[in-house]
Subunit: 297 residues, 4 copies
């Protein structure tokens, strides 16, 4: 499994990977920063300085998602004075290290996700960790991230399809159980066409994801970049649309806490931002498409 | 003021209207019901039976918005055995009457609005009120509602314009203060075009609302029906679009509780449902437009 | 090949099918009628009466596409006094039969397609053909049409993908060869995102079509109905969108006759109407989706 | 009238303006060039050199709209070696001057508009005109264009509203005269909602145009720039949408030459390109909006 390779040394495997796989330890990933537009990874302001055999970490991170109380974080930082591709590094930080401050849980559309893990703001003030905690080696953070982001996005997209299927099922059942103006809701042509549009967008996205997964499996992360960017945009948009239709069919109940739709919308809407906003992915697709089209000339 | 006419008798004015105007009493309006599609007012299932000089009320209402603890509710119910236009009545119910149960506050996209008033589910179990609490008289509920809904919707729409202006202002400031990929966010052409699209939809909606207000003022509620339906659809849609753009520019901060955008989205999205879903208004517009077009023949 | 079965008798095969396959004869299909909404096949007004061993045909058809001068038409008509599924029949009519009048070529967005076949209005005035010209037998027109429409729509959709690929290629080349405001058109972020959106919609539609073809091949026309309806809607919409983006990038040249885009738009836009308008297919999808969803209960 | 000021000298007024006003002469405007992206006016490649008291003109122009055989053209050109705001000039060229070649009429979506004026490609090969034909003076072309474009765009937008009103009227009549699946087309909820959406977009655009006209009348071209850009985008988009809905309701008849809809679409779609494509106007709106928003800080 590709993920295991991040833990380069035998010591790291023993100390961190094995407890993680045994479920004795939880981890979170600290990448996004509150003070800069993190859609551009070169914006990162968190710093890390070496002092003999230790690294000293300073900075603020947020949207660090994971278990309520992670024992370990993967901390991504940037060294500005290095060539672009070697700027980012990842280092392991036990959460009980002095100077690591779990500031607060963040809400998403007012909903406190803290109960099942949540998203946190975490500050690092002169946090010291052994130099051996670095993953693979200094400057290899970008490489690790690139290798993991494709599969990670694929999972996000698959979850979005499952979520949309559930929303459409709820929509259909509600439309079949309630009446307005003398007929079932689904007998209203406009509602019927929403059902059709939802099925259309789900099917198109499901097939696109299956296609991307096939390219990822057979040709690898690098070749699958266009497909991964395509599904990231398509899946988030699709989930937002389907859940929005379902909410409209449910009326007031749709935005309430009595049904999962309002919560599903929070997840779907956030997906248009998380792991790179739609716009960054659209720019990636355009660049790769132009490269392919102009290569034909 | 048209609203005063609802309180038909001198006694009602003294007992209810005056304390309300003095701010000593708070009211809420109980119309939507959890168990039926309330977009169709003829679906209402709440019942009211006369027994000598009292009315006995039974039923469930929700999305009854108002102060945390209203002292009075305006209760709308239906008498099925009467001619359609005389079916609905409105009656005043002091909230401390035996059998009135404030069940729970409702959340909107997970946000508990209870602090500043909130939306409640209220049950009525054999609630008895004096017959003299009826407003204007039995069967005049539809008439009262029609007279008040136009101006009420106008206010909703005006608030939506104000909310959208605030969201656009936040969007512009954020776009001018953050950088990604070597330039300010607003220098990204796609973000710049969002700003243009937001201004376009706000201006179009503002003018449509001003036009509707003019028709309402000069020609009355009945003539303004098409205009009111038009603004209801346009304003809710406009507010959703502008807030959504702002959220995207803010990224993670946009869906968090650190800025008002996530809360604004809840309001904007709910507006597409509250006071009649978009689809009911679109059907009204179509009916009136066809009447006008075919009258030309 | 399924199509051959339409010609039920040996005589029909010898007289019509063989010359058609040898390219000595051309055919057109007369279904759509100018005087009724033909999206609903039960609206058809063309009549056919039997008189001994002949059929007498009367009626008007249009959008009968084919070679400039077809030698043969497949004429679909309805017998109102029969059970619904047995109402439609198809009959072969040699175009030189007395009473067959090729009225005029029709234009599509002003373009006269007559040179390469075109679409015609054809009138039938007391046209007499031998009873043996009926295909498969009276009342089997619906059955023939159903068997052929799936594969026919699949071909339309495949052509739409090819057309869209060509439009996107033209778009990319133009965007790479022209400059405005100091940079290549494709360096304008908005144009770049159009390229990404075009690739996205093409990929999603291509995969949906491949999926539908697989279901058609392996499970047959009847099972593939939902998939066929989905691709018909998706492909027409996709082609319109891609060609529209390309036109916008080309500016005035895009709507002119100097590039194929204006003509491609005519084809793409017509596809939203031809072979059943989008709305009829969306209603079909909704019906089948609801059937599937409610079957789970 | 502002337009008269273009003809600066008494001689120009006598020779050109008066015959134009008497209808004895027709004019066309030569601005767009086939070989460059003309949405950016600084791209213009046509040249003009002074030789004593004459100007020598060379270059290609197209989309020069006007009467079938204009007697006069207003020729816009650029002098690259001058400060940006003084680069453009306009000069009067009688169409019968040696070297002026009316190359061909251009088609719009395959439709030859030549009968009622049309759009032409015109080439200028060593065309010599007296220096006194210059309008207002060298380098004042931009100034003339700016003064005239606002009112010109307003007229385009007003025509778009008229066109859309006609399309909606045709749509409603067709929807009231045809049946499918057992009811009138307008009784299909989806068609009814199109009618409502068309009315909504027409009303919003009409009011926006009236507002822009008011600003133009009372505060002048310069202040009205944002409003003019807003209506240019809104009107073209609105007209495309309404005509597209009407075409869909008409089915095959909608794209044919039997009704004016296909021709109306050509006009509406071209409006998204002519006189500056949507994207240039959206960028203008964004720039002005940001200026206004940031001025509040």
């Amino acid at each position: 499994m590709e993920v295991l390779h991040m833990f380069g040394s035998e010591e790291q495997k023993k100390m961190w990977l094995e407890p993680l796989l045994r479920g004795e330890m939880r981890s979170c990933f600290c990448m996004t920063e509150p003070d800069v537009a993190s859609s551009d990874a070169t914006n990162m302001a968190c710093s890390l300085h070496r002092e003999e055999d230790q690294f000293i970490i300073n900075g603020k991170k947020w949207w660090s998602s994971g278990e309520l109380r992670p024992s370990l974080c993967l901390y991504l930082y940037e060294s500005p004075n290095v060539t672009p591709h070697a700027r980012h590094s990842m280092i392991l930080v036990p959460m009980d290290t002095a100077g690591v401050k779990l500031i607060r849980p963040l809400t998403v559309f007012g909903q406190d996700d803290a109960i099942h893990g949540g998203h946190f703001e975490v500050h690092f003030e002169n946090v010291r960790v052994p130099a051996s905690n670095i993953l693979l080696g200094e400057g290899r953070g970008f490489e690790i991230a690139q290798g993991r982001l494709g599969p990670g996005r694929l999972h996000h997209c698959m979850r979005a399809v499952g979520l949309a299927e559930m929303a459409l099922e709820l929509l259909c059942r509600r439309a079949a159980s309630r009446e307005a103006f003398g007929k079932k809701l689904y007998q209203h042509e406009v509602v019927a066409h929403w059902i059709a549009e939802c099925r259309l967008t789900i099917e198109q996205t499901r097939l696109l994801i299956l296609g991307a997964a096939h390219v990822l499996d057979t040709l690898g992360s690098r070749t699958a970049r266009k497909q991964i960017a395509l599904i990231k945009v398509a899946a988030a948009r699709m989930a937002c649309k389907v859940v929005d239709c379902a909410i409209q069919v449910f009326g007031g109940a749709g935005v309430s806490g009595d049904f999962p739709l309002a919560h599903m919308y929070s997840y779907a809407r956030t997906l248009r931002i998380a792991d790179g906003p739609d716009e960054v992915h659209l720019s990636t697709i355009a660049r790769l498409e132009l490269r392919d089209q102009l290569a034909k000339l």
